[in-house]
């Protein structure tokens, strides 16, 4: 396992650092500008009515005519840029092996060593979880530092941040393990990336579609954002156990399926 983790560290340290810095920058900027932009939300709702259902879809609650400081904070955690950075990292990371390794032919060298596929899967998982925690950690640092200096109303309560992080990381687990499953079934990384991206896009859009089109509402449960609700956490101050359980169970199912497929499949680079 140490050898595999050494390899993963060498391959992913710079991308992880860059994604972390990117997230920190975006979260810092959002922390700084959101109170100003969303402070005038009533005017925006009047000028562009479509904004309201979009924000409702993102937050999971109706923002009414004005956004409270809490809602403004919640918007930071569901902002599409924040989610995109996190998901982009996951898609890149989780399709590295085996799809990426098969695609570039290096799997022959790797599996020519005494490395079991199970161990490979576990090592990749350890790297993926650690990298997620590092990226989110750097991102939050950007948010906290900016909130303290520039936007007092965005200063988060530690308890709420911990609950939101639990929800965010359980979504991270669900998305990443789904990407691992697609990767385990694929011989081509680009194809795997395309499939995961398409699934996420559909899942994301389903959430919005449900706001405008009634027949889509029953399907909204298939949207990943249905189970990631920072606004609700801020309103209730409670840990969203149900959502976290759904996300983690989905993640566990995808992850186990990926491990079984990887263990049983034939690997052919020629």
């Amino acid at each position: 396992m140490r050898g595999l983790l050494f390899k993963i560290y060498l391959e992913t340290r710079w991308p992880v650092f860059c994604f972390g810095l990117g997230l920190a920058f975006i979260m810092a900027v959002l922390t700084w500008v959101l109170p100003t932009v969303l402070g005038d939300i009533e005017q925006i709702f009047k000028t562009i009515p479509i904004i309201k259902p979009l924000i409702t879809a993102l937050l999971g609650v109706n923002p009414d005519s004005e956004l409270s400081a809490q809602m403004t904070q919640a918007f930071l955690w569901v902002h599409p840029t924040v989610l995109s950075i996190l998901w982009a990292h996951e898609i890149m990371y989780c399709t590295r092996s085996p799809a990426g390794e098969i695609d570039r032919g290096t799997i022959d060298f790797l599996l020519g060593l005494p490395v079991s596929r199970w161990k490979l899967h576990c090592a990749e998982t350890v790297g993926w979880l650690i990298s997620g925690i590092v990226i989110v950690g750097i991102g939050i640092l950007g948010h906290i530092l900016t909130a303290q200096r520039f936007a007092a109303e965005m200063q988060p309560s530690l308890r709420v941040v911990v609950f939101i992080l639990c929800n965010l990381l359980s979504m991270y687990v669900a998305v990443g393990s789904m990407a691992m499953l697609v990767s385990a079934m694929s011989d081509h990384r680009n194809r795997a990336i395309g499939v995961v991206f398409a699934i996420l896009l559909v899942s994301f859009l389903l959430n919005f579609l449900a706001q405008f089109w009634k027949p889509a509402q029953p399907w909204a449960r298939l949207s990943i954002l249905e189970y990631y609700r920072p606004a609700e956490i801020m309103q209730t101050g409670m840990m969203p156990w149900q959502n976290i359980t759904v996300l983690l169970m989905s993640g566990l199912t995808f992850w186990t399926s990926a491990a079984l497929i990887l263990r049983r499949r034939s690997i052919c680079t020629v």
Binding site: G3, G105, P114, I267
Partner: protein, 299 residues
């Protein structure tokens, strides 16, 4: 116990040709040649041996370890390199020795550096800036640095210059002298001929011959060049049935003989011949013979 053993090993890819009923038994300390043209099934066989592919039927073991169910243990005793090796662009020799050493849980650095010296490979150049030949050298060093009990080499000389091919040959002979096994797959006949004592020839996914090289040579037709006293003598000669005339230029005839050369020499003694040369049948002749035999039914 055989170092490598397969029984009725079959891998089918649906419509695509795979391998059928491969029966191999490679002894410890042997350098075993595995010959066949591109697409014959050499790499598929090797990939089954390494546990990359699951066999459709049959079994394969390496030093008693099942190649699918127990492939991690099998690969503990194997060193593998392919001809078209793809390595991580960030690997340098030093990093690679550290990485492979950590995975194998053994210090492969001392022998790895010794091999690097023999192969004249620089230590700090990353794979991304290496030539194909140097990448191949690095692959070979990583495959041999842990002194494997069984080396499985799939067209390993690809990209190596003749001097480095000689160095590899030396390393493999040393391995065999120490009782370790080499499974050497190639379509380059000359290198197999110089290294191996026993070979298997694979064609259309099946083994068509698995013999000592000397036995195969004896089966091969020989080329004989005879110079007669005159062109008239050459054109009026009555050829026996075990001789096939291939070329005839004035007084010089090039023949192919099947069977013992002694029989031919007895016949030639009574002919008006001024010179005769009998070539040693080489592996290429044998190889081509096996490939010609597939017509007309083969692909």
């Amino acid at each position: 116990m055989s170092a490598i053993e397969t029984q009725h090993l079959t891998k089918s890819y649906g419509a695509r040709r795979g391998i059928r009923d491969i029966e191999l038994s490679v002894n410890p300390g042997e350098i075993f040649g595995f010959l066949g043209p591109n697409g014959a099934g050499k790499s598929t066989t090797i990939r089954v041996l390494l546990g990359f592919l699951k066999a459709s039927s049959g079994s394969a073991t390496i030093l008693g370890h099942d190649c699918w169910k127990d492939s991690t243990h099998a690969r503990q005793v194997i060193g593998y390199v392919s001809g078209d090796i793809r390595l991580y662009p960030w690997l340098t020799l030093d990093r690679a020795l550290k990485f492979v050493g950590l995975v194998r849980k053994t210090d492969i650095r001392p022998f790895g550096l010794e091999l690097a010296e023999r192969f004249q490979l620089e230590r700090h150049v990353p794979v991304g800036r290496m030539s194909k030949g140097n990448r191949q050298k690095l692959g070979l060093i990583l495959a041999l640095a842990h002194r494997p009990q069984v080396a499985i080499l799939d067209e390993p000389t690809s990209g190596l210059d003749p001097l480095m091919q000689d160095v590899l040959g030396e390393c493999l002979r040393e391995m065999a002298d120490e009782g370790r096994t080499v499974f050497f797959s190639s379509h380059t006949l000359s290198e197999v001929e110089t290294l191996c004592k026993r070979i298997a020839i694979v064609r259309d996914g099946s083994i068509v011959a698995c013999e000592d090289l000397d036995t195969l040579r004896n089966q091969a037709p020989r080329i004989v060049r005879i110079t007669f006293e005159s062109a008239i003598a050459a054109s009026s000669v009555q050829w026996p049935d075990f001789v096939r005339l291939q070329q005839h230029r004035k007084a010089v005839c090039e023949l192919q003989i099947n069977g013992s050369a002694v029989k031919f020499i007895s016949w030639a003694a009574g002919q008006p011949i001024v010179d005769i040369s009998v070539s040693r049948p080489n592996l290429e002749t044998v190889f081509r013979k096996f490939y010609e035999d597939r017509q007309p039914g083969g692909a």
